[in-house]
Amino acid sequence: MSPSPDAPPTSAAREQPEDRPRLLGRVVATERRPNTTHEFHFWTALDSPVGIGTIVRVEGTHAIEGQIPQVYGVVTDGMSYSDLASPLHDVIGFDADPARAARAATERAEIRLYTAAVLRHIPDEPLQPVAMGQVFLADDRDVAVALRMDGYLREGARTGIPVGVYRAGGMESPIYLDADFLLGPEAAHLNITGVSGLATKTSAVEWLLASIFAHFPAKKGSVAAVCFNVKGPDLCFLDQPSTLEARDRTLYEALGVPAAPFPNVHYFAPYKAKGYALNTLRSNPALQHNVSPLTWGLREVMQFAEVLLNKDDIDAKADALIDFVASRVVDQPFSDPLMGGRQFQVRSFADLDAFFRELIDAMEGANREQWRTHHVATIRKVRNRLVNIATRCEGLVTNDGHASDLPNGRSEDRAVYVIDVANLEEDAQDLIFARVVSKLREHLERRALGVDHLVVFVDELNKYAPADGPETYVRKMLLDIAERGRYLGLVLFSAQQFRSQVHRRVVGNSGTAIYGRMDPDELATPGYAVIGPSTRTKLATLDKGQLMVRHPHFAQPIFVRFPRPAVLSGREGAERFPQGEEPTLQEAVLRQLRTLDPQLTMASIATVFEGLYRDDEILRARDRTMRERPSDVKGHFLSQFRSLVASRVPAPSPVRPLRPAPLGDPYGT
């Protein structure tokens, strides 16, 4: 029931001018629950727009050295209680009838009491406990000051990278990360944790890359990204626009990021086992213009043989032989008296297999067990392991020794290079990851990559850099990037579902951490003990598009919203661009050559496929054409068969002369 209309207004009526900061509550403290320099408590009206993650400002009550202190904080916990001494009193009071309770004339007195963690004191010194002042909802300027963004958003700095908006009380404040702390050199790397299927990890990275490309200051140099697509079609449609809702477009506009797909994306994928269709979910014929094969020969693989060989494989003896083969045999003329002085040119796995076969035959023929200090058993073992690589990584490793690689040295500013390894065996994935990243690092060390900063995005980090398990080449490499990459401009953006299962030094070196909806079991692990229970609960119930961000400038984690990526998601892309059917050899070759010459027709190269040439010969011709990118694609491709055509014209079968008829043959006429 309301007071009589004639009654004077109650003192609880709270009118606040629009242009003044919104008064939320008042700081309180008791002896049992005191305020400190890093935490304070305040109460609010029941209808105040305050929740976990809300940023507030406390206005001090007494000037310190002529300045009223301002304390900024973020709400980390909240509680409510009434004047009820025992729940039983409520039951008795309403005769155990909840319906009566709902009809009660008066609600009990109730409090909303919040705990906030201090984000910043102004002035910084002297650092004092939070005063019993009034609490205001932070406005845009307060948010910038509270998160120390004012330092890098000022004129002359401008290194802010929008990560999303902070929402509270009907306000939306842009939140910026500091490029110097996201992409180096001060700090670097980003780690994202969140359960799968809630548009957290992949979407957040896609959004953040778009934001970086839009806002990374020109004076800091160029930037590009290499993304490993490790599962499904997640990253296969980065150049295709999605349908955005109005609220997402508003966010893009507010944050100054174009609501458009990435304009410069290049896809790389190994071949399937047959060698003429690329092993990628981006196989729709309409999307082949920027898809290139990723293949390596013996030389490339030998440098990273360690990735594919486990500890049992590589004992000291085997390691010595592998080293000998890599340094003395591969890619150079080699001869040995035991093998009759024959000169070997080992450029491919096929050559290597032939070399080992002859070597073993020669040792057996000479009844020798040692060759250049290597025992025949070791030689057999190494041969088995190395030659087996070509089988384990079929499609990636070529037998002819030719490589088709990322354009290291020619990387383009604001370009995204996606390497699709989703359909590959684990060994091949590891090999690709190790070699690609190592080469990127080598080029960055020489300042010869083509860009100054490179973001490498790896999903499923718990698989590549697990917290426990054997020390692998890939994990060592990730640790190296995490600990030293920022000096080179090599930045690791990593993601996983369970952060607790990732090596501590990898996530620990990530200057920025992003958390999406979290699994409650994961939140129960010790790594999250520093996060309060209310914040953990919020993390377990985050909506799509909501993130919690930790950044070196932010004294406490902050909750933000980010817009839906402006690119097609994997699922949408797979629906709109279904996979093409497995092409025949002719179709596959034509499709690839058409990326060089769209006018090329099947009829113009059909003669090659009339059964005169083996598949591997045709594929070799295709690869050479793709590698050399001639102006006359058709001519170059066909020219590789002319000599074969000439030499293979079947000679007329010799006509057997007719035997003369015997004399007196009654049928001979």
Binding site: M1, A7, H89, F94, A104, A105, T106, A109
Partner: protein, 346 residues
């Protein structure tokens, strides 16, 4: 609410110096430590309609039964702060507030609570220097001199009771002032008053204030009438009777059983309701407008008001010891005053 700074023990000590012996603040106020002076009594009261006292079942309200718009209560606290010889100096604090119900929640009405504090002492029983020293504290001084008590033979407790009585008078004055303000501003909207109705003609004529008395030092029934009152069942009220006093115009009153006492004291869960004749008429007039009652039946008005009072029995005002008869809105007033004015007893 006054803006004068409250008297502190230190300020008083500095003001009095050797003129008086300061008393360390004890744990309890005089309201608690002094045994009740008044013994219970019974008195017969004339019935308004019935020929004999009887029980009336208060019918369940067709609506939610909620009628009160606001609650009024006051608090007081008296403490001995010093002795001048055998004469105690009492510091009394009082406060009163109206808490109005807005969207089922209670908020402070009007300009907020009224409060005051003063020093209570028989000014004729202490040297003038003491009066001068106390005046320096800027705390008002109330003379408790009682001509019926000789200064020489007065027992200190008599002086203390006199002081507490005057503190109570001050508290009642504040409550009455708030009730008057309500009646002027609210146009007769029902106000739940803790205790009896004040003697203000304006309040009695306004018709909005309903007094609810929890204590029963005086029972307005004798003999079989008293037996009827004490045996009222939950949800029953007594016949309406008229309370006549020297200091106030006659008002209608009746007993109402809020909760069944079971094996408890027969007075447990029993309140006495006071309503001015204007209040009864006002309730009847509103009922008549709604077509639910004849305009000349005070029993219907008493039933309606009883429904209002009963509706305030939830939520419970536990952990207050008087929860059987105390409305939650009244407890809210006391909690508010304690919070707003500092440590104050009832």
């Amino acid at each position: 609410m006054g803006h004068r700074r409250q008297l502190t023990a230190r300020a008083l000590h500095e003001a009095l110096g050797p003129l008086a012996r300061a008393v360390a603040p004890g744990d309890g106020s005089l309201e608690v430590s002094l045994a009740a002076q008044e013994a219970g009594r019974t008195t017969a009261a004339p019935l308004l309609r019935d020929r004999a006292m009887r029980a009336h079942a208060v019918a369940a309200a067709a609506d939610d039964g909620v009628g009160f718009v606001a609650f009024l209560d006051g608090v007081q606290e008296s403490r001995v702060v010093a002795y001048v010889g055998t004469v105690p100096i009492v510091h009394g604090r009082t406060g009163a507030v109206i808490r109005a119900r807005v969207d089922r929640r209670l908020v402070t009405w009007g300009d907020g609570p009224r409060s005051d504090d003063a020093l209570y002492l028989p000014m004729g029983g202490v040297p003038p220097a003491v009066i001068d020293a106390l005046a320096a504290t800027a705390c008002p001084i109330v003379d408790t001199t009682d001509d019926t008590i000789g200064a020489e033979e007065a027992h200190p407790q008599q002086l203390l009771r006199r002081a507490v009585h005057l503190v109570q008078r001050e508290r009642e004055a504040q409550e009455q002032a708030l009730a008057v303000a309500w009646c002027r501003a609210s146009g007769g909207a029902p106000l739940y008053l803790d205790g009896g109705l004040p003697p203000s003609e304006e309040v009695l004529a306004g018709g909005g204030a309903i007094g609810v008395i929890k204590s029963h030092h005086t029972l307005y029934a004798t003999g079989s009438a008293l037996a009827t009152v004490m045996s009222l069942g939950a949800g029953e009220r007594s016949s309406i009777f008229v309370v006549e006093t020297r200091w106030r115009a006659p008002v209608a009153s009746w007993y109402l059983r809020l909760r069944a006492p079971g094996r408890r004291d027969p007075l447990w869960g029993l309140v006495r309701v006071e309503a001015s004749l204007a209040a009864l008429n006002g309730v009847l007039a509103r009922a008549a407008e709604g077509g639910s009652a004849p305009a000349d039946d005070p029993d219907l008005a008493a039933d309606r008001i009883s429904q209002w009072v009963a509706a305030e029995s939830a939520p419970l005002s536990l952990p207050d010891a008087r929860w059987d008869t105390m409305a939650y809105g009244i407890r809210d007033c006391e909690v508010y005053l304690r919070a707003a004015l500092g440590r104050l007893a009832t």
